[in-house]
C-alpha cells in the first residue's frame, strides 16, 4: 500500500444508471482546490451518462494498493470454504468417504 501523495490530484467516483448502482472510480483530475476538482470531474467524466452522484477525493487521502498487494487481495479465491460450491462439494466428499469405509468393512466381514 502507499499514500496517493500529490496534493493537487483528485480521484473521481461516480454513480451511473441508478441509485442501486455502486460508486465507481472513473478517473482523475488535477485542480488547485476540491470544488474546482469536482467541477473538472463533472466536465470530464459525466458528459452523457445518467450520472446520479459524483465524488472527488484528494489522492493524498487515498491509501492505494500496489502490485505487492495483489497476492493478498486475490487470497479470497484460494479460500474455497467461502465459495457457494463448497458445501455441496464437502457433502459429496463425505458421502464418498463413507461409501469407501462401508465397502472396506464389508470385505472384512
Amino acid at each position: 500500500m502507499e499514500s496517493g501523495g500529490d496534493a493537487t490530484a483528485f480521484e473521481a467516483f461516480a454513480r451511473f444508471g441508478g441509485w442501486d448502482k455502486p460508486l465507481q472510480h472513473v478517473g482523475s483530475v488535477r485542480a488547485a482546490d476540491p470544488e474546482l476538482a469536482w467541477h473538472a470531474a463533472k466536465e470530464a467524466y459525466t458528459r452523457r451518462e445518467k450520472c446520479l452522484a459524483l465524488w472527488v477525493v484528494p489522492r493524498s487521502c487515498v491509501i492505494m494498493s500496489t502490485g505487492a498487494d495483489v497476492t493478498a487481495l486475490l487470497a479470497g479465491g484460494r479460500m474455497t470454504y467461502r465459495l457457494p460450491a463448497f458445501p455441496s462439494a464437502r457433502r459429496r466428499a463425505r458421502r464418498e468417504a463413507e461409501t469407501a469405509v462401508e465397502a472396506e468393512e464389508a470385505t472384512l466381514l
Binding site: 490530484a9 478517473g27 466536465e43 452523457r48
Partner: protein
C-alpha cells in the same frame, strides 16, 4: 433506440477482426503505474500520453474557429460538445502523463518552444463549412481505428483513458457522419462540390496520419516492441480504408480510382501514396495553421500564468 443505433455504427468502425487474440508475447505483460518498469518504458509511456494530450488539445482548434460561424444553433451546440469532449480528453491524457512525471505545463511549453511534433492532420484549418463534415468523419474514424488497436497496449492507465475517449469519439463519428451526409443529400451543387473536394484533400492527409509504410524493420521499432504501439501502420491503414471507403461511397461521395480502390484479387486497398516529402516538411516546418495554433497556446499560457501560479500557491 436511436442512440443505440448511433453507438452501434461507431462500434462497427472500431471493430477489430483480431479482437481477443492475446497470443502476441509483446502484449502479454501489462503495466500498472506502480509496477517495476525500465526507465525506457516509463519514458516511452509518458511520451505517448503527452503526445496524445497535445493532439487532443490542438486538434480542436480547427473546429473552435467555426463555433461562431456554424450555420444553425443545433450545429453550434454539437460542435461545442465535441470541442469540450476533446479538451476533456486532453485532461485525461495529461493525468496519465503527469503520473509518469511529465507536467501538463511541460507538454504545452514543449510544443510552444518547438520541441514536440504535432500530428500532420492538425497543421491545417477548414476553409469552408462544407469541408468540416467529410474531414471530421475521416479524422474520427481514423482515430477510432487507431485507439481501438492501442487499447490492447501494455500501459494500463493509458488503456483505461483510451476506453473513456473511444466512447466519445463514437459520438463525434456520428455527428461528422450526419454533417457529411446532410451536405450530400440536401446541399446545393456548389456545397456538394466543396464536400467532395474536402474528401479528396483529406484522404491523403489521413493516409499519412497512420505513418510511413511498414518496412522490413518495423518490428524493431521500440514502441512496437514495448507494446505501446500495437499494430503496424499498414495494417491500420488497410483496416481504416476497409471500414470507411464504403461509408463514403454510400453517402454519395465519388472515390477516384487513382486515389483509392479495392483490389479484389489481393483483397487489399490500393491508394495513391501520400507525398511523404511534403508530409515531412509539414511536420518539421509546420503546415498552414501551425504558427497560429502555437500562438494560441502561447497566449493562453501567458494569460493564465498569474492565476495558475496563485492557485497552485494556495493549494501547496
Amino acid at each position: 433506440m436511436a442512440l443505440e443505433y448511433e453507438l452501434d455504427m461507431a462500434k462497427r468502425v472500431a471493430q477489430d477482426p483480431d479482437e481477443g487474440s492475446t497470443d502476441d508475447p509483446r502484449l502479454a505483460k501489462r503495466y500498472e503505474r506502480w509496477d517495476d518498469m525500465t526507465e525506457e518504458y516509463r519514458q516511452a509511456a509518458a511520451r505517448i500520453a503527452s503526445f496524445q494530450c497535445l493532439a487532443e488539445l490542438i486538434g480542436v482548434m480547427m473546429f473552435n474557429e467555426w463555433v461562431e460561424m456554424a450555420p444553425d444553433f443545433a450545429r453550434k451546440q454539437m460542435l461545442l460538445a465535441k470541442i469540450q469532449d476533446e479538451v476533456g480528453h486532453g485532461h485525461v491524457m495529461a493525468r496519465v502523463a503527469e503520473d509518469l512525471g511529465v507536467t501538463r505545463e511541460q507538454i504545452l511549453v514543449d510544443f510552444v518552444e518547438g520541441r514536440t511534433k504535432l500530428l500532420n492532420i492538425f497543421h491545417y484549418g477548414f476553409e469552408s463549412w462544407e469541408e468540416i463534415g467529410p474531414s471530421a468523419l475521416l479524422q474520427n474514424s481514423a482515430a477510432i481505428v487507431q485507439f481501438s488497436a492501442l487499447q490492447k497496449g501494455t500501459y494500463l492507465p493509458y488503456v483505461r483513458a483510451l476506453k473513456k475517449i473511444d466512447k466519445e469519439e463514437g459520438f463525434h463519428y456520428h455527428h461528422a457522419w450526419d454533417l457529411a451526409h446532410e451536405i450530400m443529400t440536401t446541399g446545393t451543387a456548389e456545397q456538394r462540390r466543396l464536400a467532395q473536394e474536402s474528401f479528396e484533400t483529406w484522404v491523403p492527409r489521413l493516409l499519412a496520419y497512420f505513418g510511413p509504410p511498414d518496412n522490413d524493420t518495423y518490428q524493431q521499432n521500440r514502441m512496437y516492441q514495448l507494446g505501446l504501439k500495437v499494430d503496424s501502420n499498414d495494417a491500420l491503414r488497410q483496416r481504416w480504408l476497409g471500414r470507411m471507403m464504403p461509408v463514403f461511397e454510400q453517402m454519395g461521395y465519388h472515390i477516384p480510382h487513382d486515389l483509392v480502390h479495392h483490389d479484389t484479387e489481393t483483397g487489399t486497398w490500393v491508394f495513391a501514396s501520400p507525398d511523404w516529402v511534403e508530409v515531412k516538411r509539414t511536420l518539421t516546418e509546420g503546415g498552414p495553421r501551425y504558427g497560429q495554433y502555437v500562438e494560441n497556446v502561447r497566449r493562453s499560457l501567458d494569460r493564465n500564468a498569474r492565476y495558475r501560479s496563485a492557485a497552485l500557491r494556495v493549494a501547496a
